[in-house]
């Protein structure tokens, strides 16, 4: 993984070279010599159409839509594959070159069904945009178009061969970014297709492509050839309201564009400014958002029966005042403000002479040692604010066994968001495939739940959670809190940068964040004194 990281950072590292003067359609631009021509001109506001070129992938020059004419060069050149030279005179939008692009477009569309009404990519499809801008309204192709049925190639990935324009982006992405050699171009000429070929290094050959970046594959495919099963036919792209925020999935805190509809998150997409915020996001974060709007807990509960909030908070204050030995589990899914409030409470309790042990990790995996990354993006800290909790020293247990032992001994256990989806478990079909990571599909399967069961610790557990599951029924007190996407807040990523999230979903009125819960405990003051 390290070598992968290095590879990637090498590629990402901005190469800065001398400035070169070039002329595009008679207009002079000063651009960086080391940059790719398409990128350099894009910065200046000149958009050269391209399909196969991607700033983070190697250049192959396969689609030929980026053709340009260079003065002194007899043939048209592919812009993506042309080094910038000082004094270069480019004809990018002249009559001749536009005609050439029209020709390329016609070739690309030979086998393309243009079935936009059926295609999930419609609305964000580059081919659709360009054929609107550059293409002909009619086709001269009279022969039968090839027709290969849609096929499932990944655990969450479909390929529609007819739509594929053979730009090779998917193959390059898997090889260069993900680091697996599992997609191939098979056959030749008119019969060429993209196919999944299990990598030779894999011991158990999986029938389907199964890495953690199948969503990203569908993103980088410039047409609707690669589509995710989890979103297939579920909606259309122009229906969403888009808001930028950060992913809830892990301590990497990738910037994402959330697609929202009917107060639910439909999916995460890469950010609006990928040059700054990163081009890719992983499946683990991307496809685990549906739980945020399902089966929510809105009422305070005492052993499964609904009670009023004042009663619950009063009881919580009493419990805190009486207990001598307290275990606080969690906080990693809460914003810095919330964590600060919790830290203050913990401090006060400690000042009052109580033994308080606080750890934000609640399953065996979270106590990892060594490599902190699952892959080049996904961190092993699967809580967005994990880094901040490390700063707050919320790491009192050596490992999960120590935590389990404490469950038996503590007089009061506070669980803060650690039994809520999508952190502790995820309902429905799991689309993230991270090798080595098992994601429970119900609260009963989580290690913490089982540990609480074995130690018979439910009657002394106060649960701050977002979901109305059986844990909320069993706990002595279940207190509803806002989820990650229902509040804005500051979070600290694994590199120590603070990032601000946005409110994505409207919270139910009166629902408090965990920080507000800590602040609104009526008898909090006497606790410190007692």
């Amino acid at each position: 993984m390290d070598s992968l990281d290095k590879q990637l950072s090498n590629r990402i590292a901005v190469k800065i070279g001398a400035m070169a003067k070039i002329w595009v359609d008679g207009v002079e631009y000063e651009v960086d010599e080391k940059k790719n021509l398409i990128d350099a001109l894009k910065e200046k506001g000149v958009e050269i159409p391209h399909f196969c070129y991607h700033p983070k992938l190697s250049v192959v020059g396969m689609c030929r839509i980026c053709l340009i004419e260079i003065e002194g060069v007899p043939k048209f050149q592919a812009a993506c594959n042309t080094p910038i030279k000082d004094g270069m005179k480019i004809n990018a939008f002249g009559e001749k070159i536009v005609k050439a692009r029209e020709g390329v477009m016609e070739f690309l569309l030979i086998n393309h069904p243009l079935d936009c009404p059926v295609c999930d990519k419609a609305g964000e499809c580059r081919l659709q945009d360009y054929s609107f801008k550059l293409g002909h309204e009619t086709t001269r192709y009279k022969e039968e178009k090839r027709n290969i049925p849609q096929e499932k190639i990944g655990t969450n990935l479909y390929i529609n061969h007819n739509r594929c324009i053979l730009c090779y982006r998917c193959v390059r992405f898997d090889r260069e970014i993900v680091g697996v050699n599992d997609l191939e171009m098979l056959s030749r000429g008119n019969d060429t297709i993209i196919a999944y070929v299990p990598p030779e290094t894999e011991k158990e050959k999986s029938p389907y492509l199964n890495h953690n970046y199948q969503g990203a594959l569908a993103d980088i495919c410039p047409v609707g050839a690669l589509l995710n099963e989890s979103t297939l036919f579920r909606s259309r792209v122009w229906w969403y309201e888009s808001k930028e925020s950060h992913c809830h999935g892990c301590a990497t805190l990738c910037r994402v564009t959330a697609n929202l509809k009917n107060n639910a998150i439909y999916r995460y997409m890469p950010p609006q400014h990928p040059e700054r915020d990163g081009y890719f996001i992983c499946d683990y974060g991307r496809f685990s958002t549906h739980d945020f709007s399902q089966n929510r807990l809105y009422a305070y509960r005492r052993s499964g029966t609904k009670i009023r909030s004042q009663e619950a908070l009063a009881q919580l204050a009493e419990l805190l005042a009486q207990a001598k030995r307290i275990a606080v589990l969690g906080g990693g899914s809460e914003s810095c403000t919330d964590v600060d409030a919790l830290a203050e409470l913990v401090g006060k309790l400690r000042d009052a002479g109580k033994t308080v042990q606080w750890d934000f990790r609640s399953n065996a995996q979270a106590f990892y040692s060594g490599n902190a990354q699952w892959d080049f993006l996904l961190s092993k800290d699967l809580r967005p604010n994990a880094a901040y909790l490390r700063q707050k020293n919320a790491t009192d247990f050596a490992d999960f066994t120590a935590l389990e032992k404490e469950l038996g001994q503590a007089e009061l256990i506070l669980v803060v968001g650690e039994l809520s989806p999508p952190y502790a478990y995820q309902t429905g079909k799991i689309y993230a495939h991270v090798k080595g990571l098992k994601i429970p599909t119900s609260v009963e399967q989580t290690e913490l739940y089982q540990a609480l069961d074995t130690h018979n610790a439910w009657p002394k557990t106060v649960l701050l959670t977002t979901h109305a599951d059986s844990a909320a029924d069993k706990a002595l007190l279940a207190i509803p809190i806002q989820s990650f996407v229902e509040k804005s807040g500051r979070f600290c990523d694994k590199e120590g940068n603070f990032k601000e999230t946005t409110v994505l979903l409207r919270p139910v009125q009166g629902l408090r964040s965990s920080g507000e819960i800590w602040q609104s405990i009526p008898a909090l003051e006497p606790v410190g004194v007692a």
Binding site: C116, P117, V118, Q150, L232, F233, S235, R236, W239
Partner: protein, 172 residues
């Protein structure tokens, strides 16, 4: 404050002040129509719904879903009509075509549920205009009254033209 001066050009004569002449003239029209319809059988009212008047070919009435030349459903659940509908009257659920229905659809996506709420629809015809497949037309004639609200939500079976001969989905 300006006042408008109205010049009454016409002054009633003394016999006109009884309005007898005008009333007789008005009643004569009524009588004429009465005689026409009652004795000469030239009726002005139509005995709807037994009798129907011909509708204009551009008349926007009930929604119809069309089939293509092979008798397959044209609609592919692209949601364009639902998106454009200003009254929010269309409800579609798209799904992948199951193998046993394959012969009914030219594509691999179809409308599992397609409902039009006639109580919401304003018969604007935008859905017809938006459809890229020529699948929906408002050429089903006049909407009939119904005695429950549910009966006024058209489902796919009610709207689909019966299977059989090719139907050119274009308006005449």
């Amino acid at each position: 404050m300006a006042t408008i001066q109205v010049n009454k050009k016409y002054a009633f004569r003394w016999y006109e002040k009884f309005y007898f002449m005008s009333i007789t003239a008005g009643l004569w029209v009524t009588l004429k129509h009465f005689i026409k319809s009652a004795f000469l059988r030239r009726m002005v009212t139509v005995q709807y719904p037994e009798q129907k008047k011909p509708l204009s070919s551009r008349f926007r009435g009930l929604h119809r879903l069309k089939r293509n030349e092979k008798g397959q459903e044209r609609c592919t659940a692209c949601y364009c009509c639902q998106w454009v509908c200003p009254a929010d009257a269309i409800h579609i659920v798209a799904a992948e075509v199951p193998p046993e229905r394959q012969y009914l659809h030219p594509e691999d996506k179809y409308a599992k549920v397609f409902q039009v709420d006639l109580l919401r629809c304003i018969y604007c015809g935008l859905c017809e205009e938006a459809c890229p497949k020529g699948a929906i037309y408002l050429d089903g004639g006049l909407p009939l009254p119904a005695d429950s609200r549910d009966a006024l939500i058209l489902n796919k079976e009610q709207m689909l033209e019966p299977t059989g001969g090719p139907i050119i989905g274009e308006r005449l």
